[in-house]
């Protein structure tokens, strides 16, 4: 259930001149960029506008947005300011998405690179492990990991990272299979370049662009997963993420839907931003598709 679903076939382009220009010309990427800028701006500027501890009970509980301008987005069931909470949530959710994706990308790249480069038995073993992780229902595995090893930001990040890497591994492997036999790689090999150097300096840089495109989708997915975990009561009780707000507000849904609604909308916007960006990146990196 990872981002692979939305990516097209991995591009074979080894270099991409005018990438940024193409990206800017791409409507998806442009819209995604704008949305992401908004979310980032909210996360960065927000603390100046709504400073303070998001956990502090500051006003009457369940104030509706606009009811009291001291709490423009209203308050939750414990009288905590939702605007402050959403700001904190933006930072936490983005961070969780980023770190989890970094973990997934690292594991995935490692597996894919080794498998694709060495092939043979190494590849077979690594692919079996990848298959294993693709066979297990990923979210269920994440729930198991978080539930069993105490819900916290750390376990959530690790769990999401651990279940999200197989798509990247397959992508990188496919890239490596193609690049492995390219002339510049063979040439470097003949020149006596060591294997790690060969992988790191020659193949990997060329294999990375699609990984980056996929990673933006993984971020989106990680943010959703974190929210889902919190919804099931597996959030970090010390950290206010969007998922925490939804989890805490879910029982008041019919009385005060905005408590769940606002962070939900924040998640949608953020996920949409990353998806659009990922798609734009993918198009831009894939001139084959770009022509149409």
């Amino acid at each position: 259930m990872s981002g692979i679903a939305l990516t097209a076939a991995p591009p074979a382009a080894s270099d991409s001149p005018g990438l940024l220009r193409r990206l800017a010309g791409n409507r998806s990427a442009a819209l995604g960029g704008v949305l992401l800028a908004l979310v980032l701006g909210f996360a960065v500027v927000g603390p100046l506008l709504w400073p303070g501890d998001p956990w502090e009970m500051v006003a009457a509980p369940m104030l509706w947005p606009g009811e009291d301008m001291a709490n423009p987005l209203g308050t939750d069931v414990m009288g905590r300011d939702l605007a402050t909470g959403l700001v904190s949530g933006a930072r936490v959710s983005l961070l969780i998405g980023l770190v989890a994706t970094l973990i997934a990308a690292t594991i995935g790249t490692l597996f894919g690179a080794l498998g694709g480069f060495y092939g043979g038995r190494t590849d077979a073993v690594l692919m079996r492990v990848t298959e294993l992780f693709q066979t297990v229902p990923t979210f269920v595995l994440a729930v198991v990991l978080v539930a069993v090893f105490r819900p916290s930001v750390t376990t959530a990040v690790l769990a999401i990272g651990i279940v999200s890497w197989p798509a990247t591994a397959r992508l990188v492997r496919a890239q490596f299979l193609v690049l492995r036999d390219r002339e510049f790689v063979l040439a470097a090999e003949t020149l006596g370049m060591s294997t790690p150097r060969l992988i790191l300096t020659q193949i990997l840089p060329n294999a990375l662009p699609p990984v980056i495109a996929m990673s933006t989708l993984t971020i989106a997915h990680a943010i959703q997963t974190e929210a889902a975990l919190s919804f099931l009561g597996l959030g970090d009780p010390n950290v206010m993420s969007w998922g925490t707000i939804i989890g805490g507000g879910r029982e008041q849904l019919t009385e005060a839907w905005y408590v769940c609604g606002l962070p939900g909308i924040a998640i949608i916007v953020t996920v949409l931003a990353f998806n659009l960006l990922g798609e734009g990146l993918n198009d831009a990196l894939n001139p084959h598709l770009q022509r149409r």
């Binding site: 956990w55 502090e56 009970m57 509980p61 369940m62 069931v77 414990m78 009288g79 539930a147 069993v148 105490r150 819900p151 009561g233 597996l234 009780p237 010390n238 805490g248 879910r250 029982e251 008041q252 849904l253 019919t254 009385e255």
Partner: protein, 534 residues
């Protein structure tokens, strides 16, 4: 009150206390019950269907309709006849005799007799039931001089015995089904055969459970209902919506979140019963691990107690459903409640105590850092209470880290590893302190690995002596004095901060009526319940 008063049972005893209690319960106006109809009740899905050897609440809420006990309890938590018609205790307190119903039958047609009670007591409750072991520890023999008389012979008086013999505490199982089998694995545990007003029909796991009317019930003309359907709805929002949409009639066991209760405040349409769970006498509490640094100091524990605004906790987290707790016994247990000298909300006093204990604020304004664990299986309120306490402690310079774990990890951490500073839980104190309260303070109950024992590690030989004396005391007035002293000691030493006396709510449509108000209404047989015509 003299001992004899407590021991005389009889019909009508329970009704005496009725009219004084809150309106909103079904008794507001006397209405003639209507026969027929199926009540749709939401409970949390139980793992099995007999409470005879396990105290899981949701099992009790379902099994009580099928299987019965000797008595049930009224709002003052005094016993009211059920399968026992009457009872008396000898002057020395060592022999208690129950006279049983003569017209009760098991659902398979076998007559119910004293042999069933004897078997259940000796083979099930005394051996397998978590509390039964303590309740019936003094029982040396159960005599059955005739099929409808049971005499329980005790080695020492046990007043508490009368507080735990309803269908939830001591459920009577059919001897002819269970004798000679592995009781824990008997198939009847999931398809019970009882004497109760309703018979088990089918259980669709994950979805619902169907009971049908027992036409041969021993109370003539009852039950009024044709059957009961228990539905399992895991999501709280969906439960509220289902109740509003008329898809269900009743929710038992606080399944409607407190924050949604105001939607059911229209008396013409809904009934919110807050008395059904009195019997459990549950308190939300914070248990302090006295073996930890700083927390072994009584002053520190008192300071933490002073820092928590219990009234605010009730108001904000429980939306007013509950009462600030003052001590280990909730005020609803009128027989033994003693206000004593509880720590008032006073952050300044808290800071002063911490200063006295040498725990001054550091450069960052903080004194020390501790953690608070709670189980994720607990209610949302429990999580919010943790957040509330965290903010309260921050104000006196104590940094609190919240840990929420699933119950396996939580119980392991608290009771096996002792790797925690404070834990919160909602514990049933039960109508008798010897059963529900002593276990939390008794030195001999510091038992590694076993849940809900004395997990704070608190040990006070003087208190031990008082608690043990109270258990064996056959005179109510003397026993009360002992229990009062006990309450004062633990208030002062504060190994456990009793925070909120919990209210268990039963929310139903106004159509759902019940003749009798019970203190153990969560575990009522519902033979006297009916659905008023629309």
């Amino acid at each position: 009150m003299h001992r004899r008063d407590l021991m005389v049972g009889g019909l009508g005893l329970g009704l005496a206390a009725l009219p004084t209690f809150e309106p909103g319960t079904a008794l507001a106006q006397p209405v003639t019950p209507t026969r027929g109809g199926v009540a749709r009740i939401v409970v949390e899905e139980p793992p099995i269907l007999t409470s005879a050897f396990i105290t899981t609440m949701n099992i009790g809420m379902v099994s009580s309709k099928i299987l019965e006990g000797l008595v049930s309890y009224d709002l003052d938590l005094k016993p009211v006849p059920a399968l026992a018609e009457s009872w008396e205790t000898s002057a020395d307190g060592l022999r208690t005799t129950f006279r049983l119903r003569q017209n009760a039958k098991w659902h398979d047609g076998t007559p119910f007799t004293a042999a069933d009670v004897r078997f259940s007591l000796l083979e099930v409750w005394k051996k397998l039931h978590p509390f039964g072991r303590a309740v019936f520890a003094n029982v040396t023999e159960v005599e059955t001089p005739d099929p409808y008389t049971v005499t329980v012979v005790l080695s020492a008086p046990a007043l508490y015995l009368f507080n735990y013999i309803n269908t939830y505490g001591a459920q009577i199982l059919p001897r002819h089904i269970y004798e000679g089998t592995d009781i824990l694995k008997n198939p009847a545990n999931v398809a019970p055969i009882g004497t109760g007003p309703f018979r088990f029909k089918e259980w669709q796991r994950g979805s619902h459970l169907v009971l049908e009317r027992n036409p041969d019930y021993w109370q003539a003309g009852k039950p009024y209902l044709d059957g009961i359907i228990f539905r399992f709805i895991p999501d709280a929002v969906a439960r509220s919506v289902a109740l509003e949409a008329g898809e269900i009639d009743v929710t038992i066991g606080s399944l409607i979140p407190v924050t949604s209760l105001r939607r059911f405040s229209d008396r013409a349409k809904y009934t919110i019963n807050t008395d059904d769970g009195r019997f459990l006498a549950s308190i939300f509490l914070a248990q302090i691990n006295v073996r930890r640094p700083h927390l072994g100091d009584k002053r520190v524990r008192q300071a933490l107690s002073h820092a928590i605004d219990r009234a605010g906790l009730v108001r904000l987290v429980w939306q007013g459903y509950g009462k600030p707790a003052t001590g280990p016994i909730p005020s609803s247990v009128t027989q033994y409640y003693h206000r004593g000298n509880p720590q008032a909300y006073d952050p300044r006093r808290a800071e002063q105590l911490l200063d006295e204990a040498g725990l001054r604020r550091g450069a960052d304004g903080k004194r020390f850092r501790i953690n608070l664990v709670s189980g994720s299986g607990n209610s949302l309120e429990s999580g919010r209470a943790g957040e509330f306490i965290k903010q309260a402690f921050a104000r006196i310079g104590v940094d609190l880290e919240l840990i929420i774990e699933d119950s396996a990890a939580y119980l392991r951490r608290v009771y096996t590893d002792g790797d925690y500073d404070i834990m919160t839980s909602s514990l049933h104190k039960l109508p008798d302190p010897t059963l529900g309260v002593q276990r939390l303070y008794w030195t001999r109950n510091i038992v590694r690995g076993a849940p809900w024992t004395n997990g704070s590690g608190y040990s006070n030989p003087e208190l031990d002596r008082i608690m043990e004396a109270a258990a064996a005391e056959g005179d109510l007035a003397k026993r009360r004095d002992l229990v009062n002293r006990w309450q004062e000691i633990v208030q002062e030493d504060a190994p456990i901060l009793d925070l909120v006396e919990l209210t268990w709510t039963t929310v139903s449509t106004a159509r759902f009526r019940k003749e009798r108000v019970q203190g153990d209404g969560m575990f009522a047989g519902l033979e006297d319940a009916w659905l008023a015509p629309r």
